[in-house]
């Protein structure tokens, strides 16, 4: 949160406050009696506590469990501010709040607030104040796992207030009015929602402007899309398409920042951000949505906060993890477009493969020093592997860290990607099939046409393979039943000593791994066989890494 560096006067817990005043997020279960014991104070005439429990439904969907994820440093800082505000406002003897992180089952204790005060009135009011503000302002993300196997990230509540009455439900309560801004969610339970995860109205004001302290009304302004709707190709119908769209952005760096920022501004209904990295000082020259003070924090959370501030009306989901095939298989089918903004070729190929596999368009781009390449992959059209049948290993062609880059280069190329996403969603003039090259030093663009390759391994195989298919098969018979092409990867002597009893090709592992193009043509994939199942497993793994999903290894090696 770029705004988190702005200090709130008097927000730190004072050492002379008397009893205990604390806030923390905790991976461990909350020990209520122990916590309650810390609140004792000779001057206290009463104690009030609130427990928030995991509820089994949200917006009509059955939730089977929840996982909370917090950025502890930010969460604890904001939580302590709230406790301090409550201390000052209500003259408490003590106040404590603990918010769980990690996996919780239905009925689990998710958040606990305890306060003690001289009189019950202040205790009740302060407890209410703390839970409301914690839900509203503390950056805790919640992943709901639904009964249907689906899941979604929900920003814990500090969201709806900004959108105000036009977005929330009608359950504003007296407590809201008492501190001058409108909470658009109900407060009776820690897991009430004013919206489901796909309409998660975010807002980034919480840290910079604790509205409850200033008693200033929270502005409820939202972007006005009039300037883009004025385009005849957009209009209200186009804007509605954007508002209904879900876009997956892989990578929140030099490319991802302009991509996500322009898409948020354009009013894309829901953006999902994936990036495992924390912000580093070396990022800032080209990743200009971030703030120097936020180095060390997770990029997905920082960028989500920035986008919420830009456009509180869009849904935002974050995954602070690397995009591997499993995550992509889970996310890609739930989006309308996937945008690759990473700096790793292996991830670009994985994104391409998932997009082809699930029939979702992808906008891929990379930069190198003063140049960029952009490729739009549409279902049925040419893909990254049509252009690059043999994926070079990571490190062969350099990245920003190794080769150097000027900030505007990814800025421009990422902006181009954002445009291509809007083009796809709005159905503007179709992009050509191929690779756009941009050379800023020369001031040139060049479009290289790339028709779909007839022998593209991606198109040939991916559609027939279930995501995450097991690598090993128990028997040759199983492989034959699947129509796999059997490939013996033993050396000639080994193969001669114990020949396979079925029709097969012979390609020793060392030979094959030099160039996977030697793989025999097949409709359904390959079953690799060696002496004990170790080499064949390596070959199958190498094939899968190269994008050949239908590569299997015979467990235990050739039958004797």
């Amino acid at each position: 949160m770029s705004s988190s560096s702005i200090a709130t006067p008097g927000a730190e817990t004072s050492p002379d406050a008397g009893g205990a005043f604390s806030f923390r997020v905790s991976e461990d279960p909350i020990d209520v009696p122990a916590e309650q014991a810390t609140l004792g104070d000779p001057g206290a005439g009463g104690y009030v506590a609130f427990e928030g429990w995991v509820r089994e439904t949200n917006e009509g969907r059955r939730v089977v469990r929840l996982a909370y994820e917090a950025y502890p440093m930010l969460a604890n800082r904001e939580g302590r501010r709230i406790i301090e505000e409550a201390r000052q406002r209500f003259g408490l003897k003590s106040a404590s709040c603990i918010h769980r992180t990690g996996l919780l089952e239905i009925g689990g204790l998710a958040v606990w607030v305890g306060v003690s005060a001289a009189h019950r009135g202040e205790a009740f009011a302060a407890c209410r104040y703390i839970i409301d503000e914690v839900k509203h302002r503390v950056p805790v993300w919640k992943q709901e796992f639904y009964e249907d196997g689906d899941s979604g990230w929900v920003n814990c509540e500090r969201c709806a207030a900004a959108a105000g009455p036009s977005h929330g439900n009608a359950t504003s309560t007296a407590a809201n009015a008492s501190h001058g801004h409108t909470h658009a969610h109900s407060h009776g339970h820690a897991h009430d929602h004013a919206h489901d995860h796909d309409h998660d109205h975010g807002h980034g004001h919480g840290h910079a402007q604790p509205a409850a302290v200033t008693d200033a009304p929270v502005p409820s302004r939202l972007p006005d899309y009039a300037r883009q709707m004025a385009l005849p190709e957009v209009g209200a119908a186009g804007q509605a398409k954007l508002g209904a769209a879900k876009v997956l952005v892989i990578g929140c760096g030099g490319l991802g920042v302009p991509v996500a920022t322009y898409l948020a501004g354009a009013g894309i209904g829901s953006l999902t951000l994936v990036d495992p990295d924390v912000l580093e000082a070396t990022n800032l020259h080209r990743q200009i949505a971030y703030a120097a003070a936020d180095c060390g924090q997770a990029k997905v959370l920082l960028l989500a906060a920035r986008l919420r501030a830009l456009n509180p009306s869009i849904g935002l989901h974050t995954h602070a993890e690397a995009a591997d095939a499993a995550l992509l298989d889970a996310l890609v089918p739930r989006h309308d477009v996937v945008v690759d903004c990473t700096d790793r070729l292996s991830v670009k190929f994985a994104v391409n493969d998932a997009a082809v596999r699930h029939g979702i368009p992808a906008v891929l781009a990379s930069v190198h020093q003063y140049e960029g390449q952009v490729q739009v992959v549409r279902p049925g059209g040419s893909c990254l592997r049509c252009v690059w049948p043999q994926a070079p290993r990571d490190g062969v062609v350099g990245n920003c860290a190794e080769a150097g880059v000027l900030g505007p280069v990814p800025g421009l190329v990422g902006t181009w990607q954002a445009f291509e996403v809007l083009r796809l969603l709005l159905g503007l003039e179709a992009p050509r099939e191929g690779v756009l090259t941009v050379d800023l030093l020369a001031g040139q663009t060049r479009f290289l046409r790339a028709p779909r390759a007839a022998d593209c391994p991606e198109h040939a195989l991916k559609h027939s393979v279930a995501p995450g298919a097991p690598l090993e098969l128990p028997s040759l018979a199983e492989g034959l039943a699947r129509g796999l092409c059997v490939v013996d990867v033993r050396d000639a002597t080994e193969a001669a000593a114990n020949p396979l009893p079925v029709a097969h090709h012979h390609l020793p592992m060392a030979t094959l791994l030099k160039d996977l193009k030697q793989l025999p043509a097949t409709e359904n994939g390959w079953l690799f066989v060696c002496v004990r199942g170790i080499r064949s497993r390596s070959v199958a793994e190498a094939c899968r890494e190269a994008g050949h999903a239908a590569a299997y290894s015979l467990s235990g090696g050739a039958p004797h």
């Binding site: 990578g251 760096g253 030099g254 490319l255 991802g256 690759d340 903004c341 990473t342 700096d343 790793r344 070729l345 670009k348 781009a365 990379s366 930069v367 190198h368 020093q369 140049e371 960029g372 390449q373 252009v387 690059w388 043999q390 994926a391 070079p392 990571d394 062969v396 062609v397 350099g398 990245n399 920003c400 080769a403 880059v405 990814p410 191929g434 690779v435 090259t437 050379d439 030093l441 020369a442 060049r446 479009f447 290289l448 046409r449 790339a450 028709p451 160039d515």
Partner: protein, 81 residues
């Protein structure tokens, strides 16, 4: 018989060639032969199988016959972001 081509280099090839474009008059008649020739001259580290070639702005096979005056792009994939 020699033919003259306009060559354009991208990314690491541009770095290693120290130019983005050059005219080459040569007896090479396929992209494969042409790349071998300029690779030797410029010391390109990338093997042809990591590159693509585009002839007159369309990706092409390494063994298509080249014609005098063709515009030829040698391009590696790039990874930065």
């Amino acid at each position: 018989m020699s033919q003259t081509y306009t060559l354009q280099y991208f990314a690491v090839l541009r770095e290693q060639a120290r130019c983005r474009e050059e005219q080459v008059t040569t007896t090479a008649t396929t992209p494969d032969e042409l790349y071998a020739e300029v690779r030797a001259r410029h010391g390109f580290t990338l093997e042809a199988n990591f590159l693509r070639v585009a002839v007159n702005d369309e990706f092409a096979d390494w063994n298509v016959p080249l014609r005098d005056g063709d515009h030829i792009v040698f391009i590696p994939p790039v990874a930065g972001g």
